[in-house]
């Protein structure tokens, strides 16, 4: 019996139920219901302004930084309701990491950037931090490029390197879920390929949700795809299915480039 419960929880990383979201008076999300599978890559696609980022930012409660936002419905991450009262934002955001569209390294050294999360949780021991930094940079495919200049400013890195640094920074927290909001939209094709490669390597251990405008990217590196339109989830299924035999007309139109 206990076994099945664990399995059930294991089968869903993020469970979204009847989610409405408002920016002040303006409703941005309408009755979203979805399940995101653990250790899979899920892509969010849809035309600009349809609410992809908004939903993503609900998963680590980043929307609360903005004043006047309101949410209704439930989000369960590995079975626990993250909007329940008493949830500690710090530990939620440690479990659910985020990579932003524009890379945002802190004006500190590379080492300090990666060690930021663990340090905030009170880790002080140098050797331990060094281990974490090395592991995270290796996971993000950046170690070879920066291992000799860990004490240089992170702002001296190239745009693509900065974005991988931000991925490594999120990984240093050992999150369960990684949210990526158009992580490669500002990058050149080679950096984009590198990021996609990193995503492929991470998928075995992490649940990844990625927002993208690049349909090829979604087709290439995701297992599941969710299509949004005007704040509503239109369709969500295995990526191959969405791209080959979508059930909804709108999805088909969007994928075949008729609008968007």
């Amino acid at each position: 019996m206990e076994q099945t419960v664990v399995n059930e929880l294991d089968a869903v990383a993020v469970h979204v139920r009847n989610l409405d979201f408002y920016y002040g008076q303006v409703q941005a999300l309408f009755g979203i219901n979805m399940n995101i599978k653990p250790r899979q890559v899920t892509a969010f696609i849809g035309p600009s302004g349809c609410g992809k980022s908004t939903l993503l930012r609900c998963f680590n409660r980043m929307n609360e930084v903005l004043l006047g936002t309101r949410i209704a419905g439930d989000i369960l991450i590995h079975g626990s309701d993250i909007y329940r009262e008493g949830t500690r934002l710090e530990s939620l955001r440690k479990r659910v990491g985020m990579v932003f569209q524009k890379s945002n390294p802190f004006p500190m050294t590379i080492f300090e950037n990666i060690a930021f999360g663990p340090r905030m949780r009170g880790l002080r021991e140098k050797a331990q931090l060094e281990g974490i930094v090395e592991r995270s940079l290796k996971q993000a495919d950046l170690w070879q490029e920066v291992k000799d200049r860990l004490n240089r400013s992170a702002l001296d890195l190239s745009g693509g390197q900065q974005q991988r640094l931000c991925i490594a920074r999120a990984l240093a927290n050992e999150p369960e879920i990684i949210l990526m909001d158009e992580p490669a939209s500002a990058l050149d094709p080679i950096s984009t390929a590198k990021i996609e490669e990193t995503i492929q390597e991470l998928r075995t251990n992490y649940t990844i949700v990625i927002v993208t405008h690049n349909l090829q990217q979604a087709a290439r590196c995701s297992d599941y795809t969710a299509f949004f339109y005007l704040g509503k989830l239109v369709e969500m299924d295995a990526t191959a299915k969405i791209f080959q035999t979508p059930t909804q007309k709108r999805t088909e139109d969007y994928i075949s480039g008729k609008f968007g």
Partner: protein
């Protein structure tokens, strides 16, 4: 042809107005005006102040009636055919006035005799004349004898050294005697206090008297050496005099001990003049003032100004930054916050004298008086903190400058990229951790801009200081070697007030004028230097955070 010309002109006219050419011109002219005004101001200050220490040549103007004037020519006026010349005749103790105007028609001959001497004295300013002789005890050496001036200079050095040594021995003796003075004061207080008639008080007084006697005996023994030394030095310092013939025909005797400097400017080459200039400039920076501040140095005023600014920065920076942090990061936006913002902005426009009065009433009388009643009651009615002092003046100025820091910090905080805050929060940092580790370092350039503005405002402020702790002259600095080293209750000197004092309150305003300019220049320099420190710091930080606003 005329058609196309006409068209060209029309296009020119359209471009002229559309591209705002006149506007660019006007704004350019205003900038030029501003620069011109600043350059003019600095030019006047430098031109009038920089020459202050230069040993000007001494002219001998022989007049029609056979008498002569001796002194540097300081000014000339021409009105039609009539011209007149101003001479600094000095010898204030004899002539009363330092300057004299003489009509050019009166002057028969102008020469620059090589042996005209200037003696800068400890009192009464310069003495100008011709040195006749040097007297040591009963031996008189006439000025005509070989190597006379070298001998005088050597003697003068000796005497000056003795004088300096005297001062330090004197200080040592006073210091040793202090414990004795303390007992004396305690005894006086006991015997005049309310319990003076009680028998135990009498016993205690007797005890103290014994203690006093014993101590004074040992002290007398141990001070015998220094006192004898003092006597020897006194004799040495008072050994010699020079005799000088001045222009009214009389002779004046100056004890060598009273001479700060003896020189003959007409005989000096440019290098020795430059050396003299440098020496004077240094002594201006490191010496204490003499002759009601019109001569000597301004060291205590420099010290007081800089220390007050530092104290002010130490107080107003955290105050302003914390206020701004709360307003920007924690307070809910709304009418209350807008009101506070407006109040802060307007606070910066309150006249500084109002802050001064507030400082006097609140800090000096209320806080200082309270501190005295609590901790220094034994010294009352002599106030310790209940009177103006450097701490209260700095606090008052900190209040005055805090709005500036708040406003700049607010701007700095608003400029911190949202991406950085969200990046930190997304990594699981708490709000406080985000502010401390990401927001504040990022806002540092803004904070330092506030500090720079605060320094500029505070260093030039005089009015509020006059009633919260600045004085004309102090005998001790607010920092010295005696416990507890920092004496924040002490009054202090300030360059801004010094300028006012020398320029308007001194007995001889005309003679003090160059000093006013020099001091003003110095104050400007110090403000610039203090600002430079903050600017360099800010640029360093800016470099570090460059590109963070990608």
């Amino acid at each position: 042809m005329p058609v196309s010309e006409n068209k060209g002109y029309r296009e020119f006219r359209r471009g002229f107005w559309a591209e705002g050419v006149p506007f660019i011109w006007i704004s350019g002219i205003t900038v030029l005006l501003l620069i011109g005004m600043i350059a003019g101001l600095i030019g006047i200050i430098v031109a009038s102040g920089a020459g202050n220490f230069w040993p000007a040549n001494v002219a001998k103007l022989t007049l029609k009636d056979g008498s002569y004037l001796l002194g540097p020519v300081t000014d000339r006026e021409e009105e039609g055919a009539a011209a007149r010349t101003q001479v600094k005749i000095a010898n204030r103790d004899v002539f009363g006035l330092d300057f004299k105007w003489v009509d050019d028609s009166e002057i028969v001959k102008t020469e620059y005799p090589a042996d005209a001497a200037v003696i800068e004295r400890m009192e009464y300013g310069h003495l100008q004349g011709f040195i006749l002789s040097f007297k040591e005890g009963d031996t008189v050496t006439p000025a005509t004898s070989a190597g006379f001036f070298d001998m005088v200079a050597a003697k003068h050095r000796q005497v000056s050294e003795a004088r300096e040594e005297m001062k330090s021995v004197q200080e040592r003796i006073t210091h040793e005697r202090r414990s004795l003075t303390e007992i004396e004061i305690a005894m006086r207080k006991l015997s005049s206090g309310p319990a003076s008639d009680l028998p135990e008080t009498k016993v205690r007084l007797d005890e103290m008297q014994k203690q006093f006697d014993a101590k004074s005996e040992t002290l007398a023994a141990s001070l015998q050496g220094p006192e004898r030394e003092l006597e020897r030095l006194e004799a040495l310092a008072a050994c010699c005099e020079v005799e000088v013939a001045i222009s009214d025909g009389s002779t004046k005797t100056v004890p060598l001990m009273n001479a700060v400097d003896i020189y003959r400017p007409n005989g000096m080459g440019p290098f020795s003049k430059a050396a003299y200039y440098a020496g004077k400039a240094v002594s201006f920076l490191v010496d204490w003032p003499r002759e009601s501040n019109t001569e000597g140095g301004v060291y205590p005023a420099i010290f007081g100004t800089v220390m007050m600014v530092f104290l002010m920065v130490i107080i107003c920076t955290p105050l302003g930054v914390m206020t701004a942090l709360y307003m920007h990061e924690y307070a809910k936006p709304g009418p209350a916050l807008s009101a506070v913002r407006m109040a802060v902005n307007n606070l910066a426009g309150v006249p500084s004298i109002v802050f001064g009065i507030f400082g006097l009433g609140f800090f000096v009388y209320f806080v200082g008086g309270g501190l005295d009643a609590l901790f220094f009651a034994d010294k009352l009615p002599e106030p310790t903190f209940g009177t103006g002092g450097i701490l209260w003046a700095s606090l008052t100025l900190a209040l005055l400058t805090v709005p500036v820091v708040v406003v700049s910090t607010l701007e700095g905080l608003a400029a911190v990229p949202r991406a950085n805050r969200e990046g930190s929060l997304a990594l699981g940092a708490s709000k406080f951790q985000t502010i401390w580790n990401v927001v504040l370092p990022n806002a540092m350039p803004g904070i330092l801009t506030g500090v720079i503005l605060a320094i500029s405002r505070a260093a030039g402020e005089v009015a509020p200081l006059m009633i919260t702790g600045v004085v004309k002259l102090v005998s001790e600095l607010p920092v010295d070697a005696s416990w507890p080293f920092f004496h924040l209750d002490r009054k202090f000197m300030h360059l801004g007030f010094h300028i006012y004092d020398v320029g308007f309150q001194s007995p001889n305003v005309e003679a003090a004028k160059p000093m006013v300019y020099t001091t003003t220049g110095l104050l400007l320099l110090i403000v610039v230097a203090l600002n430079l420190v903050a600017i360099v710091l800010r640029n360093k930080l800016r470099n570090k955070y460059r590109g963070s606003a990608l």
